[in-house]
Symmetry: D2
Subunit: 287 residues, 4 copies
Amino acid sequence: MSIVLGDNRYGKAETRLVHVDRGGQRHRISDLTVTTTLAGELDATHLHGDNTGVLPTDTQRNTVYAFARDGVGEPEDFALRLARHFVDSQPTIHLSRVSIESHRWDELDGGDGRSFTRGAGARTATATYDGGKAWVVSGVSGLTVLNTTGSQFGGFVRDRYTTLAETTERILATAVTASWRHGSAEPTDWSASHERAVRGMLDAFARTPSLSLQQTLYAMGRRVLEHGPELVEVRLVLPNKHHFLVDLQPFGLDNPDAVYYAADRPYGLIEGTVLREDAPPAGAAWW
Amino acid sequence: MSIVLGDNRYGKAETRLVHVDRGGQRHRISDLTVTTTLAGELDATHLHGDNTGVLPTDTQRNTVYAFARDGVGEPEDFALRLARHFVDSQPTIHLSRVSIESHRWDELDGGDGRSFTRGAGARTATATYDGGKAWVVSGVSGLTVLNTTGSQFGGFVRDRYTTLAETTERILATAVTASWRHGSAEPTDWSASHERAVRGMLDAFARTPSLSLQQTLYAMGRRVLEHGPELVEVRLVLPNKHHFLVDLQPFGLDNPDAVYYAADRPYGLIEGTVLREDAPPAGAAWW
Amino acid sequence: MSIVLGDNRYGKAETRLVHVDRGGQRHRISDLTVTTTLAGELDATHLHGDNTGVLPTDTQRNTVYAFARDGVGEPEDFALRLARHFVDSQPTIHLSRVSIESHRWDELDGGDGRSFTRGAGARTATATYDGGKAWVVSGVSGLTVLNTTGSQFGGFVRDRYTTLAETTERILATAVTASWRHGSAEPTDWSASHERAVRGMLDAFARTPSLSLQQTLYAMGRRVLEHGPELVEVRLVLPNKHHFLVDLQPFGLDNPDAVYYAADRPYGLIEGTVLREDAPPAGAAWW
Amino acid sequence: MSIVLGDNRYGKAETRLVHVDRGGQRHRISDLTVTTTLAGELDATHLHGDNTGVLPTDTQRNTVYAFARDGVGEPEDFALRLARHFVDSQPTIHLSRVSIESHRWDELDGGDGRSFTRGAGARTATATYDGGKAWVVSGVSGLTVLNTTGSQFGGFVRDRYTTLAETTERILATAVTASWRHGSAEPTDWSASHERAVRGMLDAFARTPSLSLQQTLYAMGRRVLEHGPELVEVRLVLPNKHHFLVDLQPFGLDNPDAVYYAADRPYGLIEGTVLREDAPPAGAAWW
């Protein structure tokens, strides 16, 4: 009845890095939350507290800051530089993941490119590296969207516990967490790729006549791939942020699809993957 | 040694109301979090559990929804309608406050005015009413802004516990909570007023060469009043979201005002009021 | 139309201090979140960015840490020491407030007094000082309590918008934020006082047959004063954490006060003060 | 270049259920947050919006409430009942997971078993079912613990970016998220099993002289298995909640391991698995 160590990993979570590029007429901010995760020959520290193979998480944070000295660039490139560094420089580390949330800042009007306001949502980028191969996943988080019309829900299973009425008109709202895997980790114009993916995804959200949030999810993922030949797989997590029509009849009023209660909990949670049939295996991309 | 009841109030906090105006070619969303607060002859319920003077908080929520039936309009007007209703309809209620956070939704490109994305920050409006007089306070919350240059901090007191170096160049970042009192509760173009106030405030943030966050605060409040003859007092709460230059010397690198650590806690907290010398007394405006 | 500076203050919010007292057989942890706030002659920094009267918030944080060197002791005493220091040492500072949240740690069984687990809720202490007089307010935050029986709600106002049914049996649940003002800032056994206040308050919560949350609030405040002759005023903020009976009839089931939906928002919010008739004026106690 | 639907699932997240058992002299509360997740033949809804195979998430919530009518019992049993129901009653659903957080309530002294205070942390239980086999995972979340002594960190890799000093005495603090897989889903005394696991895990935390948090993690996982012959695998997620000694030298003070700054971000994050060598395959246990 032997007890053994199984899968394990460690790293530094949520290093808050802001880089200001003052080179141009207009300054540029990179506001990143960086999480590094490493795995490899780590049995000794678990079993005996022997840390000879452990690169401290404090060092990982330092490395994030040091690597930002000459500019962060695209989050995907920054993640790749860091991910490769940890494995290539440390014999005991065989796999690394660097996940970045890039927070959005928009220029303030009249701020001469030196004043900014923080926007909603974040662009995300994750690089994973195993010493030979690298994987890049890009995405968004916290992007909340809503359609006031064009969404129905009906024709579903009814059992003893079903009370939901079918509806041909409902508000559809969700906070999008989406990520898409690139077919290659070779340098490319990551920003242009990101912009195409987001624009396509939101266009699909806005324009898909929706019979279910699942149908919308699939349309969003599909559109990302259609507009991004460099992409091979999309994963979406869509909470269904319910908006319930309020019953105003007790007050002698009708409610012509006008007044809603926006609920916090519980919420539907729809998760799905859309991919190319010939997508290469995901490998460690989503590790 | 008699024990007595002192000040008291009650209400319904954070009613989540979404109203969709489908009347035009482009739909309009009002996404509000509404808090109602009432005070008056409430001794009986506190002392004996006699609720004959208590309008239930459940009813307050219902009222919020019912009043939205024919449209919400400007948050200030909606707050005023509700605040007046509670006092005017309830003999035991002598003072009411209705506070509204109006969450921002922007139209999605290509969404034909039926698809929206949620923005950062909120517009706020509070109406207070005592049966005779009404007060209106408008404002913003969660508006995070940052200047990459133009901010210094020096010449301050040094004592035994002071280690802070003076700086002639720092990042200035804050999450603005601001509210401004209107001189009158008479109907007006609240949106235009709000837009002028926010634009002036942000312009002052962006363009004030800052020797302290206090100086920036005062400039922001002053500008709101200068651009808003209808306004008489501004209150600002500005957390100083510190960005510390990272010391890269241990890694053999300089740091030419480029790489920062964005700290969560602790943070500076600067609060101040700017008002007209001849401002009428605040009365219950900030109750 | 002159514009002027009104009330203002500044400080360092949420300094996270942990002190370990290793002097005894069993270690003792003080885990504090400290917020310091100062006011005084601060016009110059607001109007001209002249900081000669400004003790930096960075220094305030340093002072918190330095003062902890020889032990924190009771949070009330620590708050008083700091509040007095800022005003007494700085000619420009005329009023100071130090607010402390003391987070609860319980000894782990078998941990030999060196292992702890963090409990729910916090003990709070605030000292205010104006150069002559000091005020002390103690309290709790985040203390969530629930009665499964003994709570009714009926006999309330009914208007056009009232749909709430009267109930003779409901769950009463709230997250208590309470603070009580001491009659004197002279050193005393603050912990014993705190324990009496909390025990009395919770006993009143548990044993008061409740016809409204207001009645429970008053009973809680009254009991604090009855058991604390050293206390003169109590302020309570009680969110009514609604638990709604779920209608199980659609599933052919009754619901004999057994199955509830615990709602997040909206929630009732009951606020009240209980005080001695002969309480000295509050002065700057709640500044 | 065909695009296809990949893995997908859906459900109702965070249904808030409170059940009160009034049968005995002392009442018993079950305060649960329940998340249900289903998968199966769901292509039609994704591809065409054909919902004939979709059991609405609204129905899933109703089912949670209906199943609580006759008591919740142990969270593991409740999760199993629900997980089995969804697959066994729905031809299109082939896999289900029910995850439960059970929030802790302790009796208030003097409350006669009808008054409670909410404690910190939660007990967790997850059941997964594929129509034939069921898996049960139990655990805890939000259990924050701290050792004031007995923790070192040294002997680690040093590279160009390492500045961390070795230490032979540090505070070790973490917020434990742990889960352990049962070898069988057969009914058992889940509470007794849970208590043994938690007690063993905390005892290992308190008593393991720690050379790294990884070593502590392994000891915690191992102890759970040693004290729980019914368990086969443990997964732990341990954020390293850093406490940094404050440098008091600028103030002319030493700091004899007494005054610490408790940091929020970044934090170390240590994740690991401990299992029996002959553990059966995890199957869908952690799906």
